[in-house]
Symmetry: C2
Subunit: 194 residues, 2 copies
């Protein structure tokens, strides 16, 4: 099936170009025109793949999901529970340029999904997937009230990520690690006071 | 100064119309045209006040700041510390339709400020003001490591608020209260394990 193979390879080319634009210039700069230029394609060729900015944003979000999933899958065998939980959750914090770009795509995508019903399924799946990883982390630490603690941890991680984008000089990568570490340690060593 | 008084009254009229549109139809629906229609003004008259959608969004955000500030100022005299901290932080969670609309304005505004430098000062002031209230709450509870705990609490509150907008069927008002309560109790009764 040479046609299909070609199609998949072309999409990978596009994904790589899109990601370069997002990391370098931000998600709002990733217009159809800019991504076409980055890939060395005509705008018309790109339009065979994406008819609208919303479709391109969805493709960017699919790329984020793929990237995070691959990193989680590539984590080594489980270490000590606190270490494993930390490694898992670090995949969802903007600790470097790539993860920062991922978070910007997520925020733009989630915001756009509020007014575009077609994006909601992927948004909800992504939100639920992060919740699942938080539940896994909470389970590793043996926290009491795992449902409540998974939701609390998830809110903390998403809030930290948001602050890292808004105030990168305050919520630095080191500060994010420090706060997450304090939170996970409190889950491990104590029960919730509720 | 009749002109000035008139101007202030007109801005209040606009603020009320803008808020009705935001609560009823969402922040993305609050276009210049829609707000003019809601206020019973011509689009041209509205343009004397706001030349662009970004200026209208900034006005909406100023309105949010005014609303939250007024609610915080109207809180009764301090009760038991946990109760006081809870009452303060409830002003920043989307626990009803008005606070939900405030949070939607904040998310849209913060997202827009990422690409519009003119909005950053108000965004940073708002972010810092919430951090200040978190620091106050942490102080009331006598938590160890107040700076770290203020930042952790702030991230939790903003993350919960974000989830309440994204997944209102899961992160319900009751659930938000329950998670905040568990967090504040853990600050009050235990030191951070970090």
């Amino acid at each position: 099936m040479p046609k299909l193979v070609d199609h998949a390879a072309r999409r990978e080319e596009l994904a790589a170009a899109l990601w370069r634009v997002v990391v370098r210039d931000g998600v709002d700069a990733a217009s159809l025109r800019r991504v076409a230029a980055e890939a060395g394609w005509s705008l018309g060729s790109l339009r065979h793949y994406f008819e609208s900015q919303a479709q391109l944003l969805r493709f960017a979000m699919e790329l984020v999901v793929r990237r995070v999933t691959a990193r989680v899958a590539a984590l080594g065998p489980p270490e000590e529970p606190l270490q494993t939980a930390t490694s898992l959750l670090h995949q969802f914090l903007p600790l470097d340029a790539d993860r920062r770009a991922e978070m910007e795509v997520w925020l733009a995508f989630a915001s756009r999904a509020l007014v575009d019903p077609e994006l909601r399924q992927l948004r909800d799946e992504s939100h639920d997937a992060v919740r699942g990883v938080c539940r896994q982390a909470v389970g590793l630490l043996g926290a009491a009230q795992p449902d409540l603690e998974a939701e609390r941890l998830h809110a903390l991680v998403d809030g930290l990520a948001q602050h890292a984008i808004l105030a990168p000089g305050v919520t630095t990568p080191d500060r994010q690690r420090e706060i997450l570490d304090a939170h996970l340690r409190s889950l491990k060593t104590r029960e919730t006071a509720a």
